[in-house]
């Protein structure tokens, strides 16, 4: 808890009117951000909100286009991480950027080792490292390698390094993603101690419960703009969710739309059924079933575990608990290839890294999955490849100079369409779409929605993941709601509405 609330604790960091753009993207449009001394301030926002850009400008990775940044009243303009560090802004990233094979002591002091005429003084360095660790209540053998420690310890070592540089402002980017409950608790105890000593802490996180547990204030960004700065104690969860999603909501109970065209009947036996399927660091064990001709939505805020669920179902990650049944048979996929053979398909959220083959042509990208399933020898003839490419280019409205254009040159939206085409070409039984409409123009979004309904009518099972609640509500006949890497509930038919989903996310408790 944030102790006695002084009316105006001294402001440590003041950012006013920050603007940063990239070619084609206005990442930050006049954002204000204030952090006070002795405060834990959570920075939140959905995809494209501008959180990571703000952090990168603050820590010197990017340079700003406009606006002012003041630290302790003095205007600053860090142009490199090292510069930011020397100003007193230290950052701990999600991947805990330490050097794995070097010792704890070295990692803490790297770049600032105590020297004697150029010679490193190892014992002095060890003592310094031990003092740094004491600040985070750790007592360890500092000569052991960082790689031999758990992630939780590594994170504390990274924080110790950051504090060793400066205790002014600490920025933590997703610090709890890889920690279990106990470790989170220990980390928060340290953070509270540091806060009480006067350090300003910025924490970027998606976990709603944790935000309420640890932060004093919350700043919400959306689409590059500031939504507002709030005192955590005075912000109801529902309001927070509504700010993040961008939809006003009243406190009244959820009212639903009537179902549009949903055959709420015919509960065919499920195509895929998972029970208590989960994996530590991914999602807690959950139940989910999808039947033929069903369009099921997976809704939740960023980081709630939707992609993780998809990866588990598609066989990219292996579960540690629970079981999956396909067509009633117990199944375990050891790789995506096996899932594909059962008729599964998956368009990943991160299309650049996991989806497209940038230097290959539209045609090649489209036929790849189908060809992979058919094998080496049964090659799809050039003529048939061109036919397929043409068919999907037309059907999905892919804007490209031709089927031979390298996919990397297409716009993001068109790349997404090519990716979708790839899987549609395999005529799957279950199609998992992870954020298929992100970065796509309105017209194309409608196209994809229409295509989904057509496919559903033809008997395909579809799992639709999207952070745009209105899409999910409009398209799906059943919605599974996730929060903080666990399923919190399920809505069906008339009960589906944006309000009801937001309520479910905002409420406490984890009912499956």
């Amino acid at each position: 808890m944030s102790g006695t609330m002084e009316t105006e604790a001294k402001s440590l960091l003041e950012i006013r009117g920050l603007v940063k753009s990239f070619p084609g993207v206005k990442a930050l449009q006049g954002v204000d951000f204030t952090v006070r001394q002795g405060e834990i301030h959570a920075l939140m926002g959905e995809n494209g909100a501008g959180k990571s850009t703000l952090i990168k400008v603050l820590t010197g990775v990017y340079s700003r286009d406009a606006g002012t940044m003041c630290l302790d009243g003095i205007e600053i303009d860090p142009h490199s991480p090292k510069a930011a560090e020397s100003l007193g802004i230290s950052t701990v990233y999600q991947e805990v950027n330490l050097i794995p094979h070097l010792s704890i002591a070295e990692n803490i002091c790297l770049g600032r080792q105590p020297t004697f005429f150029g010679m490193i003084r190892w014992r002095e360095m060890a003592r310094r490292a031990e003092r740094a660790l004491a600040r985070v209540d750790l007592k360890l053998d500092v000569s052991q390698s960082v790689a031999s420690c758990s992630i939780a310890i590594q994170q504390l070592v990274a924080i110790a390094r950051a504090l060793d540089v400066s205790e002014k402002l600490l920025v933590l980017d997703e610090p709890t993603s890889s920690l279990d409950e106990k470790e989170v608790g220990e980390l928060f105890a340290i953070l509270r101690k540091l806060r009480d000593q006067g350090t300003g802490i910025v924490i970027v996180t998606h976990f709603l419960e944790q935000v309420y547990a640890i932060s004093d204030r919350i700043t919400v960004l959306r689409d590059g703009k500031l939504v507002g700065e709030f005192e955590t104690a005075n912000l109801p969860r529902l309001k927070l969710v509504s700010h993040m999603v961008g939809r006003e909501i009243t406190q009244t109970e959820a009212g639903g739309h009537g179902p549009l065209d949903r055959d709420a009947g015919a509960k065919a036996e499920p195509l895929v059924e998972i029970r208590n399927y989960g994996r530590s660091g991914s999602v807690a064990g959950m139940d989910l079933s999808i039947g033929r001709g069903e369009l099921v939505g997976l809704a939740g805020l960023l980081g709630s575990g939707r992609t993780e669920t998809a990866r588990l179902i598609f066989g990219i990650d292996k579960p540690q608990t629970g079981e999956m049944r396909v067509d009633g048979q117990k199944t375990a996929f050891r790789s995506p290839r096996q899932a594909i053979r059962k008729g599964f398909a998956f368009t990943p959220e991160n299309r650049k890294v996991e989806g497209i083959l940038p230097r290959l042509s539209v045609r090649e990208n489209i036929v790849l999955a189908l060809q992979a399933r058919q094998g080496l020898r049964r090659m799809i003839s050039r003529k048939r490849q061109l036919e397929l490419a043409d068919e999907f280019i037309k059907r999905l409205g892919v804007s490209t100079p031709g089927a031979e254009q390298a996919v990397g040159n297409l716009s993001g939206g068109n790349q997404q369409k090519v990716l979708l085409a790839r899987w549609l070409a395999t005529q799957p039984r279950l199609l998992i779409l992870d954020e298929p409409t992100r970065g796509i123009d309105v017209g194309a979004k409608a196209e994809i929605e229409k295509t989904m309904q057509q496919l559903r009518a033809q008997g395909m099972a579809i799992l639709f993941i999207s952070s745009e609640l209105e899409e999910v509500v409009r398209a799906c006949e059943r919605v599974v709601v996730l929060r903080d890497r666990a399923k919190v509930g399920e809505l069906a038919g008339e009960g589906i509405s944006e309000e009801s989903i937001m309520h479910m996310i905002a409420e406490h408790g984890h009912d499956h």
């Binding site: 991480p81 330490l98 050097i99 150029g118 490193i120 390698s145």
Partner: protein, 328 residues
């Protein structure tokens, strides 16, 4: 010793074990193997390879690779021979010039690698071709050195008398000196630690604010310097310069480095291990010479097999420690 710590040192211990086992096998199988002369020759004959391999170790620890080593050794040797014998340059001056050229050459390669983001494999390959060709341009064939400094001073006066029959050659002294200096740089200078950091995780090193660009260029300059120094030692050893020599020396250096426990992916490495690797390679050669009826190409096969075994060992150790680190 806690297991996670020992994990890092397991390959090094394995190397030491192999070295001891080979030496022991030699002593048991042959008379005179345990004599002082054999040991001294082992160090002295492989002095130039050792110096080159120490430079290569730094490059590999940083996650890079240097294929130009052998060519630079040959180039340096013929440069010195030519300067001293044909142009009347004083030996020490010639040596100084050669070392400077080696360092600049390496630095140039490092610059190309860093600032143009070119793959080290290809850049140092080009370096290898370049150095080799230029060596031949200096003088087209082996060139003996008659200069007193090389024949008398180095061979006689700078050798350390151990007993009335054996003296420790200067090439060996050079080897030991470079080892000592190299170890100092690797463990007691900030630069040395940056090398390890770069190889461990370049992205993290950048985010920590370490001078990545400067370090990378300097590492290749250091390797070029060591290769040139190895060339100098080579002239001491053979009292000649030869542009056609040391073909494939870089492979021997890399083999020594891998056998010595350094990960080819970077971040972990031991100069002491490299030295042991060089001695192992030398021992295999010596054993084969002693055996007499085994042919010298067995050296290549055994070396290849050792490299394979150590790579396998490295893989096992790194996957084991990954599993350990993942648990809380």
């Amino acid at each position: 010793m806690r297991f996670p710590v020992a994990n890092r040192y397991v390959p090094l211990l394995a190397t030491a074990f192999v070295l001891a086992a080979l030496y022991g096998a030699g002593c048991i199988s042959f008379n005179n193997f345990s004599s002082l002369r054999v040991a001294v020759n082992l160090v002295g004959d492989n002095g130039f390879l050792g110096v080159a391999a120490i430079g290569a170790t730094f490059v590999i620890i940083s996650g890079g690779i240097d294929l130009s080593v052998g060519s630079v050794v040959a180039f340096t040797s013929i440069l010195i021979a030519s300067l001293v014998e044909d142009h009347g340059v004083k030996p020490l001056a010639a040596i100084a010039v050669a070392l400077m050229i080696g360092a600049l050459f390496g630095g140039a390669m490092g610059g190309l690698i860093q600032w143009f983001d070119l793959p080290p494999f290809l850049v140092t390959l080009a370096g290898m071709f370049l150095a080799r060709g230029v060596g031949f341009m200096i003088y087209p064939q082996s060139h003996g050195i008659q200069n007193d400094f090389f024949i008398q001073t180095v061979t006689d006066r700078l050798a350390v008398r151990l007993n009335d029959r054996v003296s420790f050659p200067f090439t060996g002294t050079c080897f030991v000196a470079v080892l000592v200096l190299g170890t100092f740089v690797a463990h007691y200078t900030r630069f040395g630690r940056y090398v390890y950091a770069l190889g461990g995780d370049e992205q993290s090193a950048r985010l920590m604010g370490l001078p990545v660009a400067r370090t990378k260029v300097f590492i290749y300059a250091l390797s070029g310097f060591c290769s040139a120094l190895a060339g100098v030692v080579y002239t001491f050893y053979t009292q000649s310069g030869d542009p056609a020599s040391c073909v494939g020396l870089e492979l021997d250096a890399i083999a020594a480095v891998v056998i010595g426990g350094t990960l080819l992916s970077g971040g972990v490495g031991f100069l002491a291990g490299t030295v042991m690797g060089v001695l192992i390679l030398g021992l295999i050669q010596t054993l084969i010479t002693f055996k007499g009826d085994l042919n010298s190409w067995w050296t290549r096969i055994v070396a290849g097999m050792l490299v394979f075994l150590f790579i396998l060992l490295q893989n096992l150790v790194s996957s084991a420690s990954k599993r350990l680190g993942a648990k809380s």
